[in-house]
């Protein structure tokens, strides 16, 4: 097969805001995507996931493709190497790789149209991993669980270069060192499951760098990671890029990450690129209404909600109503079946916390910090190993929930309700919305059937859903709508406290503010107090009056949200805050990142 397309190709539609030449006047475009379309052929017909996308990548520059879920950005990135899983297939377009413009192959004109090559041909396989390498979102599932790290990284070298086994091992070690994996000599023989998420992603990057690619495609590489790890990975990608003049195509949904790393931006929506341009220009003056809205919702989130501040003025915060007094939770402790003593996992360690009436308390922490466990302990979904959960009931009595049995908890559970994180698993798919919302009322048995019906309609109205939702099943609803149903169920028995565990994390940015505003609206109308558990500082800053920072099961710092965010007292909080990407490219590099290492 003739793999080299003629180099004098007609130029496609000019792409605005791209600089075709570097400062020496040389054309640095290494990868051009022209009018790319990718279709998914199903029984219901063909669906265009990527629709007429044109982009350019320049050596040494990072192009960020932003878009919310379903915008086709990930499929687009896979179309480049033709590795879209069936039934997806590239329908039209060109992907031109200008190999002569890279540092390595400088000289003779050498342009390849990747889409002209058969997806299984040797020609395209030689390009994959050598000229264009990819890293993916899920560092756990993107590595084979049964092969050693060294084998998987080394394979990328052996596939494209003739090297001996020994040489391969040497180079693999060097790569692991380059991506800052500690103790590479040991890591090379380990399996992915022995690594943490961040280390796995580093290994993925090592694999991608194996043959010094011209182009690195990174598909949401930090989405599954905690912010502190994310910051490290972004640093790593940037430093490698500085060294090697590699072009990076970075796919993300996070405007903060874009502001941190992008040189240029392409905004995608419904498979189309709606706006492209220089990162500073776009953050300064977005042209397309969608880009504007996207940026607005991000900017809105990073400051306290005006609405909340106004509400606090009108109705000041009251006395504590839910107090966690030294709550400790150990999983799996006690004797196992052979009578041996098991040590167990300390998930929450002596947590002291209080929620005051009419206030919003945020619990922030990274994965594994014990924030969800603490939330569940406060509600007594989990048994508490030690400590007290003191709840002040409506009539002023103080109850300790910790030693209560499930039957005794029925009362408090009507007052303290939950909104779950996953809008899909929290609604029983086999019940109608009406049944789901009515369930707590039916079980309480205080109202007659028609009264319950009327109440459900009232609740639907409150959360902004139409009456017609009543007879439908959850599968008819979108994520945001389901979360509203979940909220309606939570407020059904007239509760006083709502614990929302990552209630907005599964939603796109633009929906988050909608849901948070709804919660604030309900707070005003129904006199509620909230505990919001989240890993996302922006969300907490918007919604919460006070914040508690958790790290490895302990509350390391608590206080007024603005106070903590501006002047963090604890080192961990400082490192957490410094890792959060700021959605403003001008702030780039000004912030000093702090790494936190435990000193105990």
């Amino acid at each position: 097969m003739d793999s080299t397309a003629p180099s004098t190709m007609p130029r496609g539609a000019p792409i605005p805001n791209t600089r075709d030449h570097d400062n020496k006047g040389r054309d640095t475009t290494v990868l051009e995507i022209r009018n790319l379309s990718t279709e998914f052929v199903t029984k219901r017909g063909a669906f265009r996931a990527v629709d007429d996308v044109s982009l350019e990548l320049h050596a040494g520059k990072t192009l960020c493709v932003v878009g919310e879920s379903g915008s086709g950005k990930s499929v687009m990135s896979r179309s480049i190497l033709q590795i879209v899983d069936p039934p997806g297939r590239v329908a039209a377009g060109q992907v031109l790789l200008h190999r002569h413009r890279t540092a390595r192959d400088a000289g003779i004109e050498d342009t390849v149209d990747l889409l002209q090559l058969s997806p299984t041909s040797k020609a395209i396989r030689n390009l994959r991993g050598r000229d264009i390498a990819m890293i993916f979102q899920e560092p756990m599932s993107s590595l084979s669980p049964v092969h050693r790290i060294g084998d998987q990284v080394g394979e990328a070298i052996r596939l494209h270069e003739r090297v001996s086994k020994k040489e391969m091992r040497e180079r693999t070690l060097e790569l692991l060192r380059k991506v800052e994996i500690p103790n590479p000599g040991k890591a090379i023989d380990q399996f992915p499951f022995e690594f943490s998420g961040g280390m796995r992603q580093r290994a993925m990057i090592a694999m991608a760098l194996a043959c010094n690619p011209t182009v690195l495609i990174a598909d949401e590489p930090t989405t599954a990671l905690d912010v502190t790890i994310q910051a490290e990975i972004l640093d790593l990608i940037r430093s490698i890029q500085d060294e090697s003049d590699m072009a990076v195509l970075f796919i993300t949904h996070d405007m903060g990450v874009v502001a941190e790393i992008a040189d240029e931006i392409a905004v995608m929506r419904y498979g189309k690129v709606v706006e492209t341009g220089d990162v500073y220009d776009i953050f300064e003056a977005p042209q397309h209404p969608y880009t504007q809205r996207l940026l607005n919702s991000v900017k809105e989130l990073d400051q306290p909600s005006e609405r909340r501040l106004a509400m606090r003025q009108a109705r000041p915060v009251g006395a504590p109503c839910l107090v966690s007094d030294g709550v400790t939770k150990v999983f799996g402790a006690g004797k196992n079946w052979r009578g041996r003593e098991a040590r167990g996992l300390l998930a929450v360690d002596r947590a002291d916390l209080e929620l005051r009436k009419g206030e919003n308390l945020g619990i922030v922490g990274e994965s594994g910090s014990g924030k969800t466990t603490l939330g569940r302990c406060l509600q007594r979904v989990y048994d508490v190993t030690a400590g007290h959960v003191l709840y002040t009931a409506e009539d002023g009595r103080e109850l300790d929930l910790a030693p209560m049995t499930e039957n005794q908890l029925a009362g408090p559970w009507r007052d303290i309700r939950t909104v779950f994180q996953d809008p899909f698993s929290s609604l029983n798919p086999r019940m109608t919305i009406g049944q789901i919302i009515a369930e707590p009322l039916v079980v309480a048995g205080k109202l007659t059937a028609p009264e319950i019906r009327d109440r459900v309609f009232e609740l639907l109205e409150l959360v902004g859903l139409p009456d017609t939702a009543y007879m439908r099943y959850p599968h008819a609803f979108s994520g945001g709508q389901r979360q509203r149903v979940s909220i309606a169920r939570a407020i059904a028995p007239n509760p006083r406290i709502i614990i929302a565990d990552e209630a907005t994390s599964a939603l796109d940015v633009s929906l988050r503010t909608q849901i948070l505003d709804l919660l604030l609206d309900l707070q005003e109308r129904l006199d509620l107090s909230f505990i919001l558990i989240s890993h996302d500082i922006a969300v907490i800053r918007y919604f919460c009056d006070r914040i508690a920072v958790m790290y490895r099961g302990r509350i390391v710092e608590a206080g007024d949200t603005e106070e903590v965010c501006r002047n963090p007292a604890h080192d961990y909080t400082r490192s957490l805050l410094s890792a959060v990407p700021v959605a403003d490219p001008r702030m780039r590099g000004q912030k000093q990142r702090v790494r936190y290492t435990e000193t105990t």
């Binding site: 030689n126 590595l143 084979s144 669980p145 394979e155």
Partner: protein, 312 residues
Amino acid sequence: MFAVSLIAFALITAPPGDYLTSFAATLAQSGDVVDEARLDALRERYGFDQPFIVQYFRWIGGVLQGDFGISFEWQQPVGQLIWERMALSVTLALATLMFTWALALPIGIYSAVRKYSIGDYVATTIGFIGLATPNFLFALVLMYVAVVYFGSDVSGLFSEGYQDAPWSWAKFGDLLSHIWIPVIILGTSATASLVRIMRANLLDELYRPYVTTARAKGLSEWRLILKYPVRIAINPFISTIGWAFPQLISGAVITAFVLSLPTSGPLMLQALLAQDMYLAGAFILLLCCLSIVGMLVSDILLALIDPRIRFQ
């Protein structure tokens, strides 16, 4: 093991009466006078008047020393009767397992990779029919076809000349020329179910992110599939030793009966029908133990092949 031996013994002592009752019944039928005193003496000698637990411990004690007791019907020690038949049973089961794997692995991979191709449909259809046909029926049909269309008898494991001959290479060759028929019969349904399992597992793995990763590295399609998803999808294959082995042994009992193979099945059946308890007990115990050994072997192999299990 202990539980198994208890079950096996409970099974064989469960029938009301004992061998002597049926022995007496046979004698009475043929007109002989049954001497009550003689029966009682025999009963005492074999310990049939003892409670269950005592009988069990006497038996299992013997088994542990390699003494399986005496077959009433054959008037020979059970040990002498069973070993050759057990050996043939195991040979048959192992041969079938090999056959099953050799067939099911490639077909399963092909079926999954070329999903909804003609080959996949053919494999699926044959698989379904293989699953739906009881072993013995398949054996009967095969015998019928052999007799009617080829005029040959396919039963047995040896030609007549070698039946009682001592072991030699010639006899071994003769065994090989006979063993393929029961192997096919036994292997068909196991192959069918394995193909389905392999196909389903591989389909689960084929679109995992790590496959995309490997593809993005530039691996060729077949090497990629064999190295990554197949490597992981093969785990259930290894565990088949655990469950397919008991199944094969099970199936072998009936097939062996139909084809009158000199394996353990027919003799065990006969022993069960005649309440020849020590003989039947020895068979059931050994077959069960064999299954459990298969289970252990598969667990060990699994741990060897999958580091995730090894590190647990």
